[in-house]
Structures are given as C-alpha cells and as structure tokens.
C-alpha cells in the first residue's frame, strides 16, 4: 500500500511530469503519523521512491535526498515551505534515514541507482546532491562521486535546519551537525515502546490472575480476583516504569547503562507500590520489589535501540552484565511470589 499525498500537482520538466509535494501536512498525514507512532501499519507507511518537486525548481535548484518512510518524508517536506528544490526519494523499504543507513538500504548503491533511474543529469545543470548527515553510515561520498559524478554534500541532522543550511552556502553549524535526544524526541517514542512488549504483559497478567487464587487452603476464585487485580496493577506499574518513565527521565536517572537507570525506576516504583499497600505481606513485598526492578530494568534496556547515542559494543557489554541479573531477580521474585500465595496472609500454625 502506498500512501497518496493529497492534492498532488505536477510540474513539467524535459517533457516529464514530476509530482510536486505540498509543504503543508493535512489531517490524513497527521493521523497516519500518529498511527505509525503506535505501530499500526508502520512498516507499510511508504512513499513511492522517485523524483519530486518542491515549489518551482529549475535546472539550478538544489537536490535533496531522502528515505521513503512517510513519517520521515512528511517531517522533511513540512520544513521546506518557500524553497524551490528537487527531492529524490530512495527506496529504503519504508525505513527512516538513519536506520536505513545503518542497514545499508540508504546507501551508495541505492543513490547511484536512483540517480540513473530518475535521470538526474537531465534535470539539473549542476552535479551535487544534498544527503542527510545521518545517512552517512550507509553512504560513501567519495564512492558516489567516483561512480556517477555527483558530489555528496552532507546536509544538517534535522530537517528544520535545511533552509538555513542552504542559505549559508551549504554550510552547517556545529549545532546542526550534532544529534540530540530531547524530551520530546523521547516522549514520542514511548507509545511504541509500550506496544512492543504489550502481548507479554497481557499474557503475564492472565497468568497472575490464575495463580493469585492459590492458597494453603486450596484454590479460591475470590482470592484470584482480589490478589489478581492488585498484582496486575503492580506489573503494569513496572512495565510503564520501564517503557515510559525510564525513557522520559533518561538523562536525569543515575548511572550510564540503561538497565541501571531502569532498575532505579523499578526500585522507586516498587517502594511507591509498597507505600500504597499494593504489595501484600512481607514475602510478597520482597517478591514485588525484585520483579518490578527486573521488568523495569529490562524494558528500559530495550530503549537503547531507540536512543541516539548507544554503541553496539556498549550495548553488548551492558547486556552481558544486566541480563543474568535481570533473569535472577525475575526468577527469584516469581518464586517468592508463588511461595507467598501459601505463606503471607494465610499463615497458620
């Protein structure tokens, strides 16, 4: 399924009809973007690769290169109001610029191929393309030049800086070249973090409800409901702590590793749950602190992939240390929780 951009008009260049993209987003774009953020049809949110016009470009206009993930495409075009440019969209299989560059789909080969396919040399007089700086992991500028004669100029990291970059004579300031990870950046990623493991959450909650009915006096459906609801709240709090609170508070949490930051959130959440008297008796309380810390630590560790500054070597190092500890805490916690069904509250002589 290829998303149609509303009210497409065309411009004619060398007897070719080239679609012109609007620089304003309409409701359908915003709705589509919101759905993608929640993981709905996200991998099918594509734009047709090829050449597009922005404004009224001519043979001297700049050429911008981008990915065919519609969320990236929209983020780019809404920043181009007032600019006359060519926009060459690569086939990155609907993946954003940076991730596609990491996988190599936004790469030297695809740029060279696409320049040939759209016959760029017949569209513009110059031999220069502006490629996003974040595409550099996949693109070798010197190889593009050697293979097709076009010079790669690396543009800024953010779409909002493109016009300033062009007006400054294709020069980026230090700030334009630096990637950030602002509160807003982190916040918009949290729905996806939450959705990612939601099926495991639902499964675990169901299991908790079933097991919550166990007691020394046999199985009780009253207990299952009473303790099940309480347990579900605790688990949900742990999951929200790891997928939302951890990512949002990331720079302010202690430690450098994400698993430690998540563990810290988990312990705090555990203490809050205890103060709210949601953790049951003594044994169950210890079980919950262990479980909540393990779940939050694991979930925040998984946010490394969405962050903008973690290295593969660092993540491997972190996983090697944190994963065994998370597993031990989770197994111990789960064991103690089951044991507490038979001990806490119903203690008899």
């Amino acid at each position: 399924m290829v998303e149609k951009t509303d009210s497409l008009s065309f411009i004619t260049c060398n007897n070719r009809r080239i679609p012109r993209v609007p620089t304003e987003l309409v409701f359908a774009d915003r709705l589509g973007g919101w759905k993608a953020r929640w993981g709905i049809n996200r991998m099918k949110y594509l734009v047709e690769p090829g050449l597009y016009a922005v404004g009224n470009p001519d043979a001297d206009s700049v050429v911008l290169v981008s990915a065919n993930y519609k969320l990236s495409f929209d983020a780019l075009r809404k920043q181009l109001s007032g600019l006359d440019a060519w926009l060459m969209v690569l086939d990155t299989k609907g993946v954003n610029v940076w991730c596609a560059a990491g996988k190599g789909t936004f790469g030297t080969d695809e740029i060279v191929r696409r320049i040939e396919l759209v016959k760029l040399e017949k569209i513009v007089n110059h031999r220069r393309i502006i490629v996003p700086q974040l595409a550099a992991p996949g693109v070798a500028a010197h190889e593009v030049k050697k293979r097709c004669g076009f010079s790669v100029v690396y543009g800024p990291v953010r779409a909002a800086d493109i016009i300033a970059f062009i007006e400054a004579g294709m020069k980026a300031t230090e700030a334009m070249r630096r990637v950030r990870f602002s509160l807003h950046d982190r916040l918009v990623l949290t729905p996806m973090e939450f959705v990612m493991g939601a099926k495991y959450l639902v499964f675990s909650v169901a299991l908790l409800f079933i097991l919550a009915g166990l007691s020394a006096a046999g199985y009780s459906s009253d207990l299952a409901v009473k303790n099940g609801v309480r347990s579900a709240v605790n688990l949900l709090a742990a999951y929200l702590g790891g997928t939302v609170v951890g990512p949002v508070l990331l720079p302010w949490l202690p430690g450098r590793s994400f698993s430690f930051k998540g563990c810290f959130v988990g312990v705090v959440v555990g203490v809050v749950l205890m103060l709210l008297k949601l953790t049951g008796g003594r044994l169950e309380t210890i079980a919950w602190v262990l479980l909540v810390a393990a779940v939050a630590s694991f979930a925040t560790m998984n946010f490394t992939g969405a962050s903008t500054y973690t290295s593969l070597s660092g993540v491997k190092k972190e996983v090697r240390v944190a994963l065994p500890l998370q597993v031990i805490a989770a197994v111990l916690g789960a064991g103690m929780w089951v044991a507490s069904r038979f001990a806490d509250g119903t203690i008899r002589i």
Partner: protein
Amino acid sequence: MKGQEYLKNAVTLELDADKCTGCGMCATVCPHRVFEIEGKRAVIVDRDACMECGACGRNCPVEAITVRSGVGCAVAVLTRLLRGSEITCDCCGGPHNGTF
C-alpha cells in the same frame, strides 16, 4: 550532551593518524562530534561519545578509520543471542524525529 553519556571505554573506534590526510569528512559526518581537525590531521577528542554508527569509517577516503559498526540496540543483541536471527526493525519507533 549532559546525562546522555553511554558506557566508558566500550567502543571499537580507532584512527590511524599516519594514514589521515585531514580531509575532515569524519568530523563532518559524526553526529556526536567525536573528531576535530587539528593542523592537517583528524584527532579523536571524545571517544566515549562514539556510537559506532560507522559514518566516519565509511566516508574516510583513505581508510584511516576502523570501527566495528552496528546498531546499539539491546533487542537486536538479544534476538541474535537467543534466536540467532536478525530483527526486522519494526519494533522500535526509531530515532527519526524531524531528522532530515
């Protein structure tokens, strides 16, 4: 960036100063400003800020930079570890907020 420093001494980034011609491409493409050009040579000024994206190595015309590049993603690391397969990257939201 404050509060956004990852693990110390973890990355595989190496620069061979003898090969470097000082073209400055590494300093241009690095999203964490790890390199600076001093005189006619690139120098690593903030090694721990490196995220091993591989942009510098890919764009170094004289192959003076080596880095084992990859995506710093725990889900990918765990998937390789447990299932021996690559993730499809339809899992996270991806860091593309308003990036060009």
